[in-house]
C-alpha cells in the first residue's frame, strides 16, 4: 500500500487509473449484456417505453416533471395508468395549452401510435388502470335500458339526463357526451379525468359500463332517433317553453301585424 501511495504522483498514475476504470466498465457491461439479449422478446414493449419517454420529455415534462412525479403546475402521473393517458392525450386535452379551471378537449396533437408509446411509458412508472380492449367497451349486446337507469343514478347529475353536459363550480363543467367514442367514455369512467370522480370496476362492474355506453350510443349520437323532433339542445322544459313563447307566439304576432298593415283598398292612402 505504501508503495502504491508513494507512486500516486507519478506521471503515469492517471493513465493507470483510467485503464482500471475502463476495464471495470467493460467487465460490468460484459456481465449485463447477455441479460439484455434474454429480454429480446419484450423489446417492442421496452422500445415503446423508450420512445414514450422521449415524447414525454418533450411534451409533458414541463408540467409533470422529468420523472413524472408532478410539479406545482401538474399532478404526478405515477399510477394513473395507460387508460388515463389514452383518454387525456387521445382526446387532445393533454398536452394542455394553458392552466385554467378545466383543460378543454381539442384536436389531438399525437397520433394513436404515439399515444400508445406515451401510455406505455407512464404505465411503466407505476401500476394503474389499463387501457381497455375494444371487447370491454364495445356496446354490442349490452342492456340499453339498464344502461339508462345506471346513467340516471350515476352520471346524470353532472352530464344532464340527456347527456348534454352542464356547469360545475368556478368555471368547471361536465362536457357534453354527444357522439363521444365508446373507448373514451369507458376510460373516463375508469380513471376519472380532471374533476370527474372515477367509477372503478369494484363499484361499477365492466358490464354496467358497457350498458351505459350502449345507452349513450342509442340516445346521444347523430344517428340517434329523437321521435319528438327538434330537441333544442336537450336541456329541459325551460328552453322548450321559451322557444314556444318567443318564436312560436312571435311568429303568430308577426303574421297578425303583417295582415293588419296591408290594406285591401284599391287606392292606397
Amino acid at each position: 500500500m505504501k508503495k502504491l501511495s508513494a507512486r500516486r504522483r507519478h506521471p503515469l498514475a492517471a493513465l493507470v487509473v483510467l485503464l482500471f476504470a475502463l476495464a471495470a466498465t467493460g467487465g460490468l457491461y460484459a456481465a449485463f449484456a447477455p441479460a439484455d439479449k434474454a429480454q429480446a422478446d419484450t423489446s417492442s414493449q421496452s422500445l415503446a417505453i423508450q420512445e414514450g419517454q422521449k415524447l414525454y420529455s418533450v411534451g409533458c415534462a414541463t408540467c409533470h416533471g422529468t420523472s413524472g412525479k408532478g410539479t406545482k403546475t401538474g399532478p404526478s402521473l405515477v399510477g394513473v395508468g395507460s387508460a388515463a393517458v389514452d383518454f387525456q392525450v387521445g382526446t387532445g386535452r393533454m398536452p394542455a395549452q394553458q392552466q385554467g379551471p378545466q383543460i378543454p378537449e381539442k384536436k389531438a396533437i399525437y397520433n394513436q401510435a404515439q399515444v400508445d408509446q406515451l401510455a406505455a411509458y407512464i404505465a411503466s412508472l407505476g401500476p394503474g388502470p389499463v387501457k381497455p380492449t375494444s371487447q370491454q367497451y364495445s356496446p354490442d349486446g349490452a342492456d340499453i335500458a339498464n344502461g339508462g337507469q345506471l346513467f340516471r343514478t350515476n352520471c346524470s347529475q353532472c352530464h344532464n339526463a340527456s347527456g348534454k353536459g352542464g356547469a360545475l363550480t368556478e368555471g368547471k363543467y361536465a362536457p357534453s357526451l354527444e357522439n363521444a367514442p365508446p373507448k373514451y367514455i369507458y376510460e373516463a369512467m375508469l380513471t376519472g379525468p380532471q374533476n370527474m370522480p372515477s367509477f372503478p370496476d369494484s363499484t361499477m362492474p365492466q358490464k354496467d359500463k358497457k350498458d351505459i355506453i350502449a345507452y349513450l350510443g342509442a340516445t346521444d349520437s347523430d344517428k340517434a332517433a329523437n321521435p319528438g323532433g327538434l330537441e333544442l339542445g336537450g336541456i329541459g322544459p325551460v328552453s322548450e317553453g321559451l322557444f314556444g313563447w318567443v318564436f312560436g307566439l312571435g311568429a303568430l304576432i308577426a303574421l297578425a301585424i303583417w295582415v293588419a298593415t296591408h290594406t285591401t283598398k284599391a287606392r292606397k292612402s
Binding site: A225, L230, S269
Partner: protein
C-alpha cells in the same frame, strides 16, 4: 308651439300650420268652428274586389283553394295515421331523425287548421262587406214598466212557491246548502298528517351494511378508490316497495375516499374509515339530490341553487343559500370486512324545518 311672439319667424314653415302662421300678425285668428267637433267617419274607399268582378272572382278562388288545401291536409292526416308505423324514423333536414308518424300528423293537422284560418281572414278582408257603420251608444237601463213587471213576477213566484210559509223546506234547504262545502273542507285533511318525528330520523341503524345500488351488494372499503364516487342505500330496499321513495329521499348516501391528510375536519376523519366518508346526498337548502362531486377540489355542488359543500371539511357550506353543513353518517367496518353504519345521522338530513331548532 309659438309661446314667444315672433318666434315663428325662426321656424321652418313646414312645421307650422300655414293659416295660423300668416294670420297671427293680424290678430284675427279664424277658428274654424268647434275644435272638438266630431270629425265623422272618413270617406269609405272601395277595394279592388268591389270595383272589379274579375278580382273578386280571383279572391273567391284563393279562399276556396285554401279551404280545399285544408281538406286535403285532413285526408293526409288520416292517411298518415293509417299507413305510417309508430316506430318508423326518418331524417328530415333541420329537425333530424324524427318519428315519421309524429312529423306527418303534426304537419298535416297544422296545415289543415292554418288553411281554414287563412281562408277565413282572406275572405273577410277581400269579399265580405267592409263598409264602416257607427253603432250609437244607448242607455242600458230597462224601462220603468219592464222593471215593475219583473219585480211583480218575482213576488208572485215567491208567494206561489210557498217559500215564506213552509219554513221546514226553507230551513232544510239552507242546511243542505251550508253542508255541501264541508266535503271540500274535509278533503283538506289530505294535506296532513303532520310529519311528527319522521323528519328527524332516516332508515339508517347501527350495523346496517352500505349497499351499492349499481350491484345491490354491500360495499367493502377496498372497493372504494381515492377519487371515486359511489352511492349507497340501506339494505333490504327495493324500488318496488311502496315506501321506497320516502325512505331513499332521506337515506341516500354518497361515499367518497379522500386522502386522510387532506381531510381538514377532525370529526369527519373519525367518522369515516381510512378516509372513506359517507355524506347525505340531500341538500340542506331545499332537499335537491346533490352528487355533483369534483374529485380534485372535493366540492359538491347542488344543481338547484348552487349551494356548494366541501367534503374535505366536514361538508361545510362554502357557497350558496344552504343553511347548514351536509350531515355525515358515521361508518366503520364490520367483522366480515364490509362497511357498516354506526347508527343514524346525528342531525336531521335535508332542508331545514320550523321545529328543527
Amino acid at each position: 308651439m309659438s309661446s314667444e311672439p315672433g318666434s315663428h319667424e325662426d321656424m321652418s314653415e313646414d312645421n307650422l300650420p300655414s293659416e295660423r302662421a300668416h294670420d297671427a300678425h293680424h290678430g284675427a285668428v279664424a277658428v274654424a268652428g268647434d275644435a272638438f267637433a266630431d270629425p265623422g267617419l272618413p270617406a269609405h274607399l272601395p277595394r279592388r274586389q268591389d270595383l272589379d268582378e274579375q278580382a273578386a272572382k280571383h279572391s273567391e278562388r284563393v279562399v276556396a283553394g285554401l279551404f280545399v288545401l285544408s281538406m286535403l291536409a285532413t285526408i293526409g292526416f288520416i292517411a298518415s295515421y293509417v299507413t305510417l308505423k309508430p316506430g318508423k324514423i326518418v331524417y328530415i333536414f333541420p329537425v333530424g331523425h324524427v318519428s315519421a308518424l309524429n312529423f306527418a300528423l303534426g304537419l298535416t293537422l297544422g296545415l289543415a287548421l292554418f288553411c281554414i284560418g287563412a281562408g277565413a281572414v282572406h275572405w273577410a278582408r277581400t269579399l265580405m262587406s267592409d263598409v264602416e257603420t257607427p253603432a250609437e251608444r244607448h242607455p242600458i237601463e230597462a224601462s220603468p214598466e219592464v222593471r215593475a213587471q219583473v219585480i211583480a213576477d218575482f213576488k208572485q213566484g215567491a208567494a206561489e212557491s210557498q217559500f215564506g210559509r213552509r219554513k221546514l223546506i226553507r230551513n232544510t234547504m239552507f242546511g243542505a246548502m251550508a253542508m255541501v262545502p264541508l266535503s271540500g273542507l274535509v278533503l283538506l285533511r289530505d294535506l296532513g298528517p303532520l310529519p311528527g318525528k319522521s323528519l328527524r330520523t332516516t332508515a339508517w341503524r347501527k350495523g346496517m351494511t352500505l349497499i351499492n345500488p349499481n350491484t345491490n351488494l354491500p360495499l367493502r372499503p377496498e372497493d372504494i378508490t381515492t377519487g371515486s364516487l359511489t352511492f349507497a342505500q340501506p339494505p333490504g330496499l327495493s324500488e318496488d316497495d311502496d315506501d321506497f321513495q320516502d325512505v331513499i329521499a332521506k337515506a341516500a348516501l354518497m361515499i367518497v375516499r379522500i386522502e386522510p391528510d387532506e381531510i381538514k375536519d377532525k370529526r369527519e376523519l373519525d367518522w369515516g374509515h381510512q378516509g372513506i366518508v359517507a355524506f347525505s346526498k340531500i341538500c340542506t337548502h331545499v332537499g335537491c339530490p346533490i352528487s355533483l362531486y369534483e374529485q380534485q377540489t372535493h366540492h359538491v355542488l347542488c344543481p338547484c341553487h348552487q349551494s356548494t359543500f366541501d367534503l374535505a371539511d366536514g361538508g361545510r357550506v362554502i357557497f350558496g343559500p344552504a343553511g347548514h353543513a351536509l350531515p355525515q353518517l358515521r361508518i366503520s367496518v364490520n367483522g366480515s370486512g364490509y362497511l357498516e353504519a354506526l347508527g343514524d345521522f346525528a342531525e336531521p338530513v335535508g332542508p331545514s324545518f320550523w321545529e328543527r331548532g
